[in-house]
Structures are given as C-alpha cells and as structure tokens.
Symmetry: C2
Subunit: 214 residues, 2 copies
C-alpha cells in the first residue's frame, strides 16, 4: 500500500496525501460510515453504507437483493470514508477550507461466498463496533445469512488525505480585522435510548455505553 | 421532482423513500458535506466535497485544476448527502440498522461559466453557512475566481431515503434478554478556535457562534 499507483496518487494539494498503512487503517477504523462509488448501466452511483476493516481488506454488506451490491460484485469500485474535523475560516473566501481525514480505496469488489466465512466477517463487523455483542444476540439463521451479501475490497490501492490546523491566509490578509480560525466539528454519540419494547430491567451494556465513532 | 424516475425510484426498502421537495431540500440544507460519484477513465470515483443548494439546483466547487471537477463537467454524476442519526441495535444481528437521512441526486453536471454568476453562487454558499460573512472578507480577486470552478446539478432527479425510530425485531425475539434500542449520533459543533495569528481583540462573530450542521 505504501507506493501510490497512478490512481491513488493524490494530485491536488499533494502535501495533504498519506499512503502509510497506519494513517489509512486509522481513518477506516475510526469511521464506519462510507460511500461506495460504482457504475451501473454506464452511470455513476454513490451509495452510503457502513464499512469495516480486517487486515488488508475493507468489507461492506447488505441485502442480497441490493442493486448496489449486485452492481459492485466483480466490478471496479471506489470506497470513500471522510471524517470532517472542522471548518477553516480564513480572511478571504478563497482561503476557506476544511479540516478532514479521508480515505479512498480503489479496486475490484469480491463477494464473500462461503457461508462460514461470511458469518465470520459479519461477526467481526459487529464485534469491531460493539465488542461482546455478537454472542448476546439471537443466532443468525441460515436464511438470514443467505439473504445477506458481503463484499470485500483489497486495500492495495488506498490513499488518505488529511488537513489539520489553522487557515493559511495570504500574507497581506493577516492585517485585516476579520475573525479567522477553526470551527471544530465531530460525531457526537448521545445517550442510548431504550427500545419501547425493551424487556423490563435491562440496561445498556458496556459496548453500548462505550460506543464512539469519528 | 415529485415523481420518481426509473433511476431515482428507491428499490430497496421503498417504505423509506421520499420524493417530496421539502424532505430533499431539508436534508441538502442541513448537511453541506457530500460525496460526488463520477466516472473517470471508465472507473468509478467517489470524492467528498461540500455542496450547497439554491432553488432547484445543488452546487459544488473547487480548484479549476481539480481532476474531479474536470471529470464531472458535462458528465453524468451522482451527488449523495447522508446524515447518520443513530445506530439501531436489535436483538438479532440481521435486524440491526441505522437511522439516517440521505439524498441522491442524478444528472449531468454543468459548469457555471459566467464570472458574475460564479461569484454570486460562491457568495450564496458562504452566506448560507455563515450569514453576513461574505462582506466581512477581503474581496475575491479575478484571478481567484478564475482559479475556482463551480458546478451545478439540477434536482429534477433526486430522491431521499429516511429511517427513524426503534429496531424492528422478529416478533419472537422481543422475549430475549438483549438490550435493544438506538444509539443516537449527531454532528457536534464545538467552540471556535482562534487562529494563532488572529488580530488581537477580535472575537468570533454571531455567524461563527451560531454555526451548526446536521
């Protein structure tokens, strides 16, 4: 993953580019929400979904009836994760920017066909977000497993782009009486809300209380 | 926008589909962060950027040297906004879900060529997020305007998908002693951070203090 390919080499603002595994994995692991770009009937689609990483692959899943998953299977895709960290407020419109951490992964999506492997991947997805939850749940049925498609994508062609810090204004603009700085933003996780049909006496387990993303 | 086209008709879980202007506009106006799907050299790309809406169009912008903007011009694109509102924790893995509000817009991206129109669009973008800021800033130069590309996309082919509320478990699973409910998440805006080079005595104006997204 360390050497960028023609496709993953960041062209614009390449001082923001990162190709090291630590950065790419860190961003993917911090944010399950992603967008998958694919081509269907010759036209581009960008569909939001959840991803998870195991080793050198990312995975995503959904209904076996999903048009998106069908269109992605054995096809070229681009999976993008972006975390917005702040709005960078400069003294000119032109120098406004965002602080962010993003990853783009290119490659051919493969279907995880073996049922045992598929279940293992789904387990890893659940356990990655909520450690200990899988074994508390009602077991997955063979029918549910069949109704679920899991796709994988190698991280061989992945790149990250990161911006942080204050605005970079034109030197002469620093003398202007304009407030400049950063408005930080982050994904906030609020207190869990009980299902109205929750069995009396149950409280959110640690994996719910400790959940965070971003 | 009210009647879905073949492409915008939501196929999966179509009870979550919304085609009304109020819902589509509401989601676009709530969240500037988007992902643009496009095709470049035959392969799909999904690039995160910021969007804004004026009337029946969405817009996005960037450097005139941007490969993304060049690839999108006069081409088919898919612009997606997704706001995650919560993780829906069920009693089986299969019934886990997310609460979200998302919009997909399909169509051909057009370049805003007239410099005055381009500047008006950028002004609307800035003013939409931070009312009153544009006129406080150092004016945009002709060179900066030339170095900026603005693309537009009609909302004629737009659809929204919305999920909210508690998990929907299989009837027999409600008797299981598994904590179920929703972990709400939202974009949190933190206190603004002064630029280290801020002119002494300046404080964040109202448009900075009142900023929120999501």
């Amino acid at each position: 993953m360390d050497a960028p390919t023609e496709r993953t080499r960041v062209k614009r603002l390449n001082k923001r580019a990162r190709y090291d595994e630590e950065t790419v994995h860190g961003i993917l692991d911090a944010m399950p929400i992603c967008t998958v770009g694919y081509v269907f009937g010759g036209a581009p689609y960008a569909t939001p979904t959840l991803q998870w990483r195991e080793g050198g692959h990312v995975y995503w899943h959904g209904s076996s009836a999903s048009r998106m998953l069908e269109a992605c299977e054995e096809a070229q895709v681009c999976l993008t994760v972006s975390i917005i960290d702040g709005f960078v407020m400069a003294r000119s419109a032109f120098n406004h920017s965002c602080n962010y951490r993003s990853v783009m992964v290119f490659g051919t999506a493969r279907k995880v066909s073996d049922p045992a492997e598929k279940e293992a991947r789904l387990r890893a997805f659940t356990e990655g977000l909520w450690p200990g939850r899988w074994d508390m749940l009602r077991q997955m049925t063979a029918q549910e497993l069949k109704a679920t498609t899991v796709l994988s994508l190698s991280l061989d062609e992945a790149s990250a782009k990161v911006r942080s810090g204050p605005p970079g204004d034109d030197e002469e603009d620093y003398a202007l009486p304009v407030w400049a700085g950063v408005i930080p933003v982050r994904q906030q996780v609020l207190s869990p809300v009980d299902d109205p049909r929750l069995m009396p006496g149950l409280t959110p387990p640690e994996h719910i209380r400790r959940f965070k993303i971003g």
